[in-house]
Symmetry: C2
Subunit: 307 residues, 2 copies
């Protein structure tokens, strides 16, 4: 019987850790998840994850592990660490890759979650045909991964691709990064809620899902909130094209589930603001990956891209 090489893909989020075993074809053979917050100490999280991964590998006939890819907020490809992630409980620098390598005895690679998502789209999703593209994740914040000439852009220090923190409004909304007017304060789940609150004067706590439901029912202010979000996003994406001239921009994440409500205004303002050198050449697409699997596939792609 043929041996089956598998890669562990681990996505570390503020709330949950999702993990799975992925074969070269991008099939998730096994997956699991657990709550992040039960582990004050990161080494305990690694022990737990390693135990469930090893057990899973043993139970799959003829399977063996060849590597481990990890996506995490502020994950740094070069240092192998999570560095000063504001939304995680572990402070400072956490040597994630070294700890997983020790626990699993395989090559372990880390990068930030949006970079991992970009690789996942390249190997297994909507970006398969493209050597130059940008992936944008629209969740609580706005993340991004740039692929140039077929390679993920890490930058000189491993922190390239922070498009959510391009300042788009002087003295604009306060951002978690300590500055003002960052793109993600407008174009994200949090941003659209804030926009709706500003339009409606409603102070009560609200979710992006609720704004979506209101817009679906024809609520004028909620529709306006989507229009304004798409206007900002369309312009920001048109500006992004002037940097790396990608063949496609791929949108991913919770906010993208709003479908045409978000995509129609985004497309309109994207085309309207695009320099004529690029007009008609750049595809605006949404991810084709199952949302709950994408993070695992993306993390596993860190290893599979080199095999």
């Amino acid at each position: 019987m043929q041996q089956q090489a598998l890669v562990a893909g681990i996505d570390i989020g503020g709330t949950n850790v999702a993990l799975g075993l992925v074969n070269k074809q991008g099939e998730i053979i096994w997956k699991d998840s657990f709550s992040t917050k039960q582990f004050d100490d990161f080494t305990l999280l690694v022990s737990h994850a390693a135990k469930v991964i090893k057990t899973a590998v043993q139970q799959i006939s003829s399977a063996y592990l060849i590597g481990c890819g990890i996506g995490a907020p502020n994950g740094n490809y070069y240092s192998g660490s999570i560095e000063y992630a504001p939304n995680l409980v572990w402070k400072g620098i956490v040597p994630v890759a070294a700890l997983f390598k020790q626990a699993l005895q395989v090559n372990s690679i880390v990068t930030n979650d949006a970079n991992a998502a970009a690789l996942g789209e390249k190997l297994y999703g909507a970006a398969k045909p493209f050597n130059d593209f940008i992936l944008i994740t629209l969740g609580t914040g706005l993340g991004s991964g740039l692929v140039v000439h077929g390679q993920l852009v890490y930058g000189h220090d491993g922190f390239a691709g922070e498009l959510g923190h391009v300042i788009v409004e002087n003295e604009g909304r306060a951002c978690g990064c300590g500055r003002k007017g960052c793109l993600e304060t407008y174009c994200s789940a949090t941003g659209i809620v804030k926009t709706y609150q500003e339009l409606s004067g409603e102070e009560s706590s609200l979710t992006a899902r609720k704004v979506y439901q209101l817009a679906s029912l024809g609520n004028e202010l909620a529709l306006q909130a989507f229009e304004l979000t798409g206007k900002r996003l369309g312009l920001a994406l048109a500006n992004a094209v002037a940097y790396t001239s990608p063949e496609a921009i791929i949108l991913f994440g919770g906010l993208v589930r709003a479908g045409d409500l978000l995509m129609k205004p985004t497309e309109k303002y994207f085309e309207a603001n695009l320099h004529n050198l690029y007009r008609g050449k750049v595809k605006l697409l949404t991810s084709t990956l199952n949302e709950s699997d994408a993070a695992i596939l993306g993390a596993a792609s860190l290893v599979w891209q080199n095999e």
Copy 2:
């Protein structure tokens, strides 16, 4: 006697063509220039340039030509053409590389002038130590070349790196590209003149050099024009860092000759707007190349980078 391999570097501008013969060490063995506008027909320009280059090579003992690099506005690396350059007399698509290859019988490569300048800095100038950097040219307009992981970024269609056409102001100044609010309408020789005119109400024709002279004499409005230009530029460069996380940004071109008048405010607003992930890590430098030689060196680098 040892044979000496040389590359022809040709910079095609709206006013002048500068050309030279460059050895691998980046020494310009011979150079010349002629007026662009005398050639309505591009093939006549090529014939003339080829003739003077061949004559020059023959007169240098033991020299032989191994390639030809061309920098030109809207020059496209992939197609080898100048495509729809608004400031050149030849309209539509001009097959520059093919024409020079035919005339000189050597490998000929074209890219836009700012990309060529970036390569020149990498091989022979201030960018030698860096694998990830951005070059910005501040002349009549604002051009840029991005280098990522040691490679010039061309994008999927050869038109990457148009940072001068990032829209920084909604409904801002009219740009030559047909849109409004592009960075180069503020941060360029043309832009600073416009800013000074807006501040002073002076309508008379003026040059950036004149604004510089006024500022040097302590003219309050001219000083303000530099401050505002540096403010826009500093923010734009801080935003650029969030894309490719470069180790350095290198400024080049006529406006940079203003020295501290431009650089001080640019540095101030650059650091003030930089995300804390990057703070203190990105060098803001000026070109170390002789300005009149830089375009020739940059063009020749298109060939020398692969030798």
